[in-house]
């Protein structure tokens, strides 16, 4: 049992720091660059993202294991998983609007952005690729979500700080964001070798 827990912990640390989705897999970059201009939106996005990631990973795992494998239609996983994500987003949109309008007002706008985001889709695909168990899949999704949130929050705080810096014109905006991301990635290299999976 102890070894199991340690494995899960390692999986979370690995997905969030050592193999951070943004800095080593380059996933979710559109959102990462698009939404990290302001801290408030970055935090809202992070919360929504992590929640959707964990839930969609869980549902996708169940669907894959108990529907697709028995039917032998694993090759359709792209279509099925995007359906799961889209359905989940639509569902949580409706539920949130009814149950908690305040929360919806705050996070609803991010939900719309999620269904066309690669990071949400990548988690179930990678879970299948790595043959993770149900619990491992959830741990992986959680770690990925936390790592993505960390990346977003760091990036937002840095971009707020350099807002008024005298950056050469062609570099303003996105190119500079890329350079900064490169430097964060450089710093994150320090985590490599921390965990062997």
């Amino acid at each position: 049992m102890g070894a199991e827990l340690i494995k899960l912990f390692e999986l979370i640390v690995s997905a969030s720091l050592v193999n951070n989705f943004v800095f080593t897999w380059f996933l979710g970059l559109c959102i990462f660059f698009g939404v990290s201009k302001k801290m408030e939106t970055a935090i809202g996005m992070s919360i929504t993202f992590t929640a959707v990631m964990v839930i969609s990973a869980a549902i996708s795992w169940l669907v894959f294991r108990f529907v697709m494998v028995p039917l032998g239609i694993e090759f359709l996983m792209i279509i099925v998983f995007i359906g799961v994500v889209a359905g989940l987003v639509q569902g949580s949109d409706t539920i949130m609007r009814k149950v908690s309008p305040g929360l919806y007002y705050k996070l609803g706008i991010y939900l719309a952005l999620i269904s066309t985001n690669c990071i949400i889709l990548a988690v179930p695909l990678m879970n299948v690729g790595n043959k993770y168990s149900f619990i491992e899949s959830i741990a992986f999704a959680l770690g990925s979500g936390l790592g993505f949130s960390l990346a977003m929050i760091i990036m937002a705080s840095i971009r707020e700080k350099i807002e008024l810096a005298d950056i050469p014109v062609p570099f303003r905006g996105l190119p500079m964001a890329f350079i900064i991301a490169g430097m964060i990635a450089l710093a994150f290299t320090g985590f490599s070798g921390l965990i062997t999976l």
Partner: protein, 194 residues
């Protein structure tokens, strides 16, 4: 929403599903033999490149090392056994290094091939190069040992990548060789993997 709308939507979905399903099924059917073939051929080629003079390589069984599934094979020329191939894993710097090891009938290493690794680029990933894997040739289990000093009797570490060198030599290859030796000579499944 009128009945006409509902009819149209239903029709939309039906057409999309039928057409899409047809196209995907066709492509799937057309490519699946090729994809299957690719995988089998790739594995065969990898095995073949390890023991080029064998004309038949047969799978003997599965074993586990570092909780990972690995296979082992026998290489034959005509009816005579000329060696064995064993797959093994070693715990490296930042990844488990997947290796294939060919041994002769005296369980000395003939050739080592790194199938998959994610060691430090430019440093640890030199384990993939012939200049390193050639060092392992001709060694038996007792001499599969990494030293940091100059040596030909044992295996000399790659400068700056001792851990990766050790992961291949002391972990993957040595355990693989020990396992295949115990399995073949002892008849049973000697379990040396951790």
């Amino acid at each position: 929403m009128t009945g006409k709308d509902i009819l149209k939507i239903t029709l939309n979905l039906a057409v999309i599903y039928i057409a899409g399903g047809l196209i995907i099924a066709l492509v799937h059917a057309a490519t699946s033999p090729i994809r299957y073939h690719n995988k089998v051929v790739a594995e065969e080629l990898a095995l073949k490149s390890l023991v080029p003079d064998a004309d038949k390589i047969e799978k003997l069984g599965d074993w586990k090392i570092h909780e990972k599934d690995a296979k082992y094979f026998v290489a034959k020329k005509g009816e005579a056994t000329i060696g064995y191939i064993v797959q093994s894993y070693g715990k490296g710097y930042s990844s488990y290094i997947n290796t294939l090891i060919a041994v002769d009938r005296d369980f000395r290493v003939k050739k080592v091939k790194i199938l998959d690794q994610k060691e430090t680029p430019g440093l640890g990933d030199e384990i993939e190069e012939d200049s390193f894997t050639d060092l392992l040739k001709g060694k038996d289990a007792d001499h599969l040992k990494v030293l940091k000093t100059e040596t030909t009797e044992y295996v000399q570490a790659i400068t700056g990548a001792t851990i990766s060198s050790r992961a291949v030599t002391d972990d993957a290859v040595r355990n693989g060789v020990k396992f295949i030796k115990a399995t073949i000579t002892g008849g049973g499944a000697g379990h040396v993997g951790r």
